[in-house]
Amino acid sequence: MPDKNGLHHSCAAFIRGLKRCAGPIILLGLVLAGLAVYYTLNRLTISTSRNDLVASSKQLIQLSEKMTQDFGGRDGLVVVVENGPEKQRAVQFADALAAELRRYPDRFPDIFYRLNPEVFKPWALLYLEHKDLLKLKDNILGQKNLLQGLAADPRVTTFFRLVNEQIAQAMIGQLFTGFLEEQGQELPDVSLLNATLRQLHQSLEGKQPYVSPFSAFFPKELSDLSEEGYFFTEDDRFLLFLVTPKPGGFATTSKEVELLRQLVRQVKAQFPGLKVGVTGPDALEADEMTYALKDITLATWLSLAGQMGLLILFLRSLRRTLVEGLVLIIGLCWTFGMVTLVVGHLNLLSLIFAPLMLGLTIDYGIHWFCRLEEEEGPERQCSAETLGCAFRQTLPGIVYAGLAAMVSFLPLAFVGFKGLAELGLILTLGILIMLVATLLLAPSLVVVSERCVSKPHTCPGKPHPFLDLSWKRPGMIVALGALITLLGTVSLLYVQFDLNPLHLQNQGTESVVWENNLLKESKYSTSYGALATASLNELQARTEALKKLPTVSHVESVLSFLPSRPEEKRPFLEEMRPVVTAINFPRTPAAPSNPQELAAILSRINFKMGEAAKNLEGEKTATREQIQETHQLINQILPLLNSRQNPGAAARLADFGEHFLADLNDKWNLLLGYANSALNSPPMTLASLPQAMRERFVSPQGTYLIRVFPSQDIWNFGPLKQFVKDLRSVDPNAVGDPVLLYVFTLGFRNSILWAAGMALLAISVMLVILFRSLKMAMLALIPLVVGTGLTLSIMWLLGLPFNQANVLFLPLILGEGIEFGIIILARWQLEESARTITLPASTAKGVALAALTTTLGFGSLMVSGHQGTFSLGLLATVGSLSVLLASLSILPAFLRLVQGDRRQPFFSPNLSPGRWLNHMIRKKPNEKTTLDH
């Protein structure tokens, strides 16, 4: 077996060389590490933009950058104020916050929270929704008789008398001639009646202040402009305050978010009970990074402490633990130097390369140390012979495991997703560097740090079996392995790939809480699609097309700030203006109302409402509730009109009458003014809009921006896909956060799946080439296949989905599975003594320690509140323990079964390390294998 001998001699020569060169090698390693650190600190940059994760040549990125350039990357932060029963407090808070933020123009260059309503006042009626203006016109024309009657006899009793007549007329009409109406005759709207009754009830009870009941009749936004122009969600549940922070990376944005939150807290202190939060794309990103880094820092310290403890416990040597730690640190420094030289930067994904790489490469040293311990025997005395023996015997396994790990990451380097491609390249080269560091530095450091003596040693020594297992019924264990694999295959159908990035975040994070609030309560998202059009006509056509899409909730463009379809609204105004002009309400009542007269009228209304309430099965719920309310209110009011029970009734009714008439007079004159100005003013144009508004939606080049807001929760992949598809059906060049998210998510998932498939294929081919046997290659894959099956089954049981965070660590599980298979199989093939006992204790110990360091190293991430980090820790823990279990039980059982078929062990790998070592180091036949000569 020339290869075996070649390996033997090469390793002996290498170890001899170490005796002379260990010091210089370590020195060289340290110098290189120092240079790498210096180079890294000066040259390596960190890119935290998600855009940098997809290929820069992509048209989408170019379009997005152009969009940002044209319209400014604005409104990255959103202050959300939960609106109470009155808008007033939210509005006051917004004004106070704006004043505070204006003190930091360099930190918050742009704030956008209100449009000055005075600018829009002349066209106020044309800004009403088509249906609202139609309703107003119908109200005015439909209630013409009531309005005229009230103007002729301006008293509260007249109002109720006229309303009563309307109701009576409607009821008789419905009963006797309702069949003549096409859609059946309906009861009149009692909103105004109820609002007036409510206010009358308050007044008769002596409660203040008077609140206008006419908001049920006239659009409320016309009456009071002090609360207009603010950005409320459609249901008025939330007030939105948009803030543009100073441009910059993650560090800058995080500082601005922190400052904004501090200012929000300060201002909020003046408004006890008001609920306010900061969210928006920039806040979500900054919070995710901040909390993830915080959690990862804690987890890293826990992990380091735990791993060191494990190494000390297993290796029973602080010195060797420190040696292993130093090897990893030097290797990591070299890798950083390589990253700086080859890539030049780290992105959001490649930031995690270090723990991922160390999780795998720490294993190489572990396997070597465990084998060294076995060769040293109970005396644990270092010698050149044991060092050489351990090195030689573990070299094939370690090198093949390293190669397999590199091959598992190499396909990532070829995916189109830039972030993953860079990670793949860094990991592939990093593992190579760590492998070299381990093979060179670990023996050198042992030689230097321990007093190695020369001592005869039979290589390989006599291994002890793992836990003295006799493997008497390997068939049963193999069957169990097959069952686990089968279960895993079934589980694969049930384990989801959760693509929702919000699910990765810490659900208690302020930005996530408020983003979810907006989504749940108002179906509003701070994320929107963006389209640019070259002309106003195109803008109008696309806006109309977008509004028809079911996935779109609303569309914002410069047109949103111009009255929509004014030509259709003007006829409504022209129709109602003569009525409004002809009727004139005095500011004071003609005479005080008589409580008894009013009581009589109300009791007549009450009779009909009481009967109607009993017979409303077929009516709409809203109508039924309104009628029941009328009935209840009148029952409460009638006793209050009784002068004996309520001596102040007449005075309070008179007071109410004065407020009522003055209020009606104000509203009516306002309406008349608006109707006149809307009809007499020139049409509203873009030039009439405020500059801040035009800058947002019209670029210096004259293109127009359209913001498209989704109607569904686009953080979920299904609605996101449909939304982006719809956007692209209107404009293939649509961009914006949802489009980027879609491209990112899809590209990420597809790249990972492709790379995983290619890695599996490449590893299988590599194993066949190395072992020159399909059977052996299949055996090497057993820990991976069974371990993955077990992992999937547990994920199914725990309801743990794959996501964008934990899927990144799948290669770790894949690499470990392959590594353990190769380590066990290499020894099994190399050594007769190992075959006899199937699984030597030192090999099992190395595998167990390697798996446990991974478990502890990544399991510590479960301390994180960041859901992505937590799931990553959980998957790494479950995965490495599953692979460990499969490696130490199913694979040895298989080997036991296979062993029966094998007459002669062989180990003649195609790419034997012995060959290349032999080639690299010129062997001298007379050289001795000890270090002392």
Partner: protein, 196 residues
């Protein structure tokens, strides 16, 4: 020949005698009598809702002058109809009015406290003001009637100031103006089928 004549005369006299109490009634008594009958039916616990309906229907049928009401509800348009159309219209009107008024009574008139107020008569016509009074509720109802040889008979009721006959006039005039009489009759036919 005298015998049969005398039989007819006696029969007429008997009928006159039977009708005499109605003629002798004041308008208020007449209204009180009708409302009494209706409330008797409404408050009879042995009757189901379904059983009450035909009984109320009968009371209404006996006490309203449908020919006059049909003619009056159509206004001048009535003069343009041929006798067949008039007959059909009157029949349909009569049935629909009875059905609607039955519903009105069934829904509104229970064990009520009815106040009988002013009564006025002029030129063979009379008006009786009443009010249905409950706690916190009241509704004025005015009955209009005219005298016939058989006694008083109703031709309109005004509920809370809204005349039923006037409502018919307004709505029929609107439909004839915007559509046509044929359309109106067709809608009435359809409604008769629907409620029958």
């Amino acid at each position: 020949m005298r015998k049969p004549l005398s039989i007819i005369s006696w029969s007429l006299a008997a009928l006159w005698l039977l009708a005499a109490p109605a003629l002798a009634q004041t308008p208020k008594d007449y209204v009180r009598g009708i409302l009494g009958q209706a409330m008797g039916v409404q408050n009879n616990p042995s009757l189901t809702d379904a059983a009450r309906r035909p009984l109320i229907h009968q009371i209404i049928e006996k006490n309203f002058d449908f020919n006059l009401m049909a003619r009056d509800s159509l206004g001048p348009a009535y003069g343009n109809l041929n006798s067949g159309q008039r007959q059909e219209f009157t029949n349909a009107f009569s049935y629909l009015f009875q059905d609607s008024y039955t519903r009105l009574v069934l829904n509104f008139l229970k064990r009520e406290n009815v106040e009988y107020q002013r009564e006025s008569q002029e030129g063979g016509k009379a008006r009786v003001d009443t009010a249905i009074v409950r706690t916190n509720e009241s509704i004025p109802v005015t009955y209009f009637m005219h005298s016939t040889p058989q006694g008083w008979i109703l031709y309109d009721v005004m509920v809370d100031g809204v005349s039923i006959l006037q409502n018919y006039r307004n709505e029929f005039a609107r439909v004839i103006k915007t559509k046509s009489f044929s359309y109106l009759l067709e809608r009435m036919r359809t409604q008769v089928k629907a409620v029958r």
